[in-house]
């Protein structure tokens, strides 16, 4: 009996213990990046036979909902691809002592380092696999057929809404404009209207006049039928909804989403119609999009930090980061890669033009927009925004009530954290 118990205990230990040389990566994909990543890791394992890398391909929802629970329990993968980088930053490993050249990381990925480490920390926890920027896409074929000129780079939100409405009416298309159902997506335009979420001390402040002005316009566009009401009222709470399928199906004139849609459009729209990336429309204050992206981070609970650092050194290296960006059509974070120039692997001239448009739009990103990805209250603000704005769009609550509720939702979370 004792032998049986000992054997069972040994089996239990084996099942929960990582062998030296084992590295497990939790990875999600929006498009083709999973295939590219597998290819890169296969090459790494051939060159480093003493390290075995296992990639767990999971849905984005798994990373969002299950990874935090695993990390809180001291478990989880050794490396993970994550968007909630700041909110979970207490679980990331400081790789500095294990990296081949920490200065290389600071030089190339230092601009986004604060997005993935606790406030005040100097830790190197990972790097951005892609930099994204929110921005608009227009169905150029519909504009051409309607004889409506595309608004220029300095056009305002109102200019775009008016032009898209004209096109939609003329071409009998159901939706003129649509924004993804996401607080992050509402934030770029809110900042362009002069909005701000943080006070001088970096704490959340009550919703201000600029943000209120944009939300008021946005709700009006939904009620007028200019914006696709379906996206915002199609769910409750903070559930994410994209309007990309409507754009791909030619049912939407102007779509405000982000640079990550480019590979998706390239493969799904093909030659069906012409489309262009427009950058972010202007508000009274500025013309900013919201930066963001997904980062690859090392997890503190790993049993093999040296091997993890080796894998990360490889993936962050200039030739690999360059190849990853060129094959996935993602905007890279590495300064060396950007300085060396990129040859994106696509024959589609629309793709190259769109990527170029986002690179150009990144020059007008406002200082607050650059701060928000590293701000610990961003997700709280985004959650309150999307929940309450959706209720206002659905006509369940007035705009005034929506503003009050956004303030009280954020204040409750801040009070709880004290």
């Amino acid at each position: 009996m004792r032998k049986v118990i000992l054997a069972a205990a040994a089996m239990g230990l084996l099942s929960s213990t990582a062998w030296a040389g084992d590295v497990r990566i939790m990875w999600y994909s929006d498009g083709v990046e999973g295939q590219v990543f597998h290819d890169l890791i296969d090459r790494f394992m051939k060159a480093n036979p003493d390290i075995h890398v296992t990639i767990d391909d999971v849905a984005y929802g798994t990373v969002k909902d299950q990874l935090p629970v695993q990390l809180a329990g001291g478990n989880g993968p050794d490396i993970a691809r994550v968007t909630a980088l700041k909110a979970l930053s207490q679980y990331w490993l400081d790789m500095t002592p294990y990296l081949k050249d920490a200065d290389f990381w600071v030089k190339n990925y230092g601009d986004q380092a604060d997005w993935m480490r606790p406030d005040g920390s100097k830790a190197i926890t990972g790097f951005m696999t892609q930099i994204t920027l929110t921005g608009g896409f227009a169905n150029k074929t519909l504009f051409d057929q309607a004889g409506v000129p595309l608004p220029d780079a300095k056009a305002t939100w109102n200019d775009w809404v008016a032009a898209a409405k004209k096109v939609a009416d003329n071409q009998k298309v159901p939706y003129a404009i649509a924004l993804d159902r996401s607080g992050h997506r509402l934030t770029g335009p809110a900042l362009s209207y002069g909005g701000s979420y943080m006070d001088a001390a970096g704490k959340p402040m009550p919703i201000d006049a600029g943000t209120k002005a944009f939300i008021t316009d946005f709700v009006k566009w939904n009620n007028d039928g200019a914006a696709s009401k379906d996206v915002y009222v199609s769910a409750a709470g903070t559930t994410y909804r994209a309007a990309s399928e409507d754009f791909i199906n030619g049912q939407l004139v102007y779509y405000y989403s982000g640079s990550w849609q480019i590979p998706n459009f390239a493969s799904k729209i093909g030659n069906a119609f012409d489309w262009v990336a427009t950058g972010s429309p202007c508000g009274p204050a500025t013309c900013t999009g919201m930066p963001g992206g997904a980062g690859l981070v090392a997890v503190k609970a790993t049993k093999n930090p040296e091997d993890v650092a080796k894998v990360m050194d490889y993936l962050a290296s200039t030739p690999i980061a360059k190849e990853f960006a060129e094959r996935t059509l993602f905007l890279p974070a590495s300064k060396e890669v950007i300085a060396g120039g990129l040859d994106f692997k696509s024959d589609d001239p629309q793709v190259k033009a769109a990527l170029q448009a986002f690179v150009a739009a990144s020059t007008t990103t406002s200082p607050e927009a650059l701060k928000l990805p590293g701000w610990k209250w961003s997700d709280t603000y985004y959650g309150a925004l999307v929940t309450r704005v959706s209720q206002a769009v659905a006509g369940e609550i007035s705009l005034d009530d929506a503003f009050k509720r956004i303030d009280s939702d954020v204040a409750a979370k801040v009070a709880e954290a004290k």
Partner: protein, 345 residues
């Protein structure tokens, strides 16, 4: 001749079963000694408890302990998941939920989401259960008649019960979405412009009610069908000989004798309706706005899915919902006991 034949077959069968009993008897003999000793020690009641122990252990580990942990969660605050990292807040979560100027106006409550979803759930339960009992009763009455292809129709009505609720939700979303099958058919047949069924408050509510009825009615119709088939035929024959009208037969014979089954259907339907989640969540996501967000979705969103995650509040809401379900279960048990007593009489 037939007896001789049966005898020939019976002999090997009994040998076989005799052989099979050998290991069983061996085990019985081994366990008999300690069990007898245990019985002498604990008495008959102790033995009953001993045999109930495995079941109680499973119940304790998978039901009782999580329930207690859930209750403890409801007394804590913060967005951390593990209890050790959370802080004690006493009854604050319950106070927040009940902090309302008027319970009839969710916007006057601190936790407006709870009261919106509670109101939606109450409306859903009343409409869905009423309609479902009606549809199940009509279905059972029709399927109890001598109709052509009766077995086929019984299978047709029961088939959706076998589907996963998520699959049910996905199928109907595919049918009802703006570019879905329904709009396509309506456009082809009548030239109707596409309509967003799932983003119109009333249509989305009707869809949630209709889809859950479609998915569950077969199960409840089956219970009622069993009840209908248990009603003695001679009662109907006597009524026919007396020339009693059909409606009178239904209200004086069928309905009273079907009442025990109807009560079971009512209580089970109420319990399942209060727990509505999967089909509605996949179908409407709780929208438009929050018009089809029910209590279970509110608890799920607060506990796991939202950027404004609050596990303590979710636990408190689930305790309150559990209390409602306990009341409904007690009603079902009382109704079952009443039926048993009536049956004995």
């Amino acid at each position: 001749m037939s007896n001789r034949h049966e005898g020939k077959e019976a002999l090997p069968a009994s040998r076989l079963s005799g052989l099979m009993m050998v290991p069983v008897k061996a085990v019985m003999q081994v366990v008999d000694v300690p069990l007898r000793a245990w019985q002498r020690l604990t008495g008959l009641t102790g033995m009953a408890s001993f045999f109930l122990l495995p079941n109680m252990a499973v119940f304790g580990i998978f039901v009782l302990v999580p329930f207690v942990i859930n209750f403890v969660y409801s007394m804590t605050g913060g967005s951390e998941i593990f209890l050790a990292q959370r802080f004690y807040v006493g009854a604050a979560q319950y106070r927040d939920i009940f902090d309302c100027r008027s319970y009839l106006d969710p916007s006057s409550c601190v936790e407006d989401g709870f009261w919106v979803s509670a109101r939606n759930t109450a409306l859903f339960v009343v409409v869905q259960v009423t309609l479902m009992i009606l549809v199940a009763l009509i279905t059972a009455l029709v399927l109890n008649r001598e109709i052509i292809g009766r077995s086929f129709w019984r299978a047709v009505f029961f088939f959706p019960v076998l589907l996963s609720p998520v699959v049910v939700g996905l199928i109907w979303r595919w049918i009802l979405q703006r570019q879905g099958l329904l709009n396509l058919v309506l456009y082809d047949l009548f030239g109707f412009e596409p309509y967003s069924w799932l983003t119109d408050r009333n249509a989305a509510f009707a869809a949630a009610v209709g889809v859950t009825i479609w998915a569950r009615v077969g199960f409840f119709a089956l219970i009622l069908l069993a009840g209908l088939q248990a009603i003695p035929k001679d009662l109907y024959e006597a009524a026919e000989m007396d020339g009693t009208r059909r409606t009178r037969v239904f209200f004086r014979i069928t309905l009273p004798l079907l009442m025990p089954n109807l009560i079971v259907v009512l209580v089970l339907g109420l319990i399942r309706s209060v727990q509505v989640f999967d089909e509605a969540y996949v179908l409407t996501g709780g929208g438009p706005g929050t018009s089809t967000m029910y209590l279970t979705q509110y608890i799920y969103e607060k506990g796991f899915a939202s950027d404004l995650r609050d596990p303590g509040l979710a636990a408190a809401a689930s305790i309150l919902m559990g209390a409602v379900l306990v009341v409904l279960t007690l009603v079902q048990m009382a109704a079952s006991r009443r039926n048993e007593k009536q049956g004995e009489r």
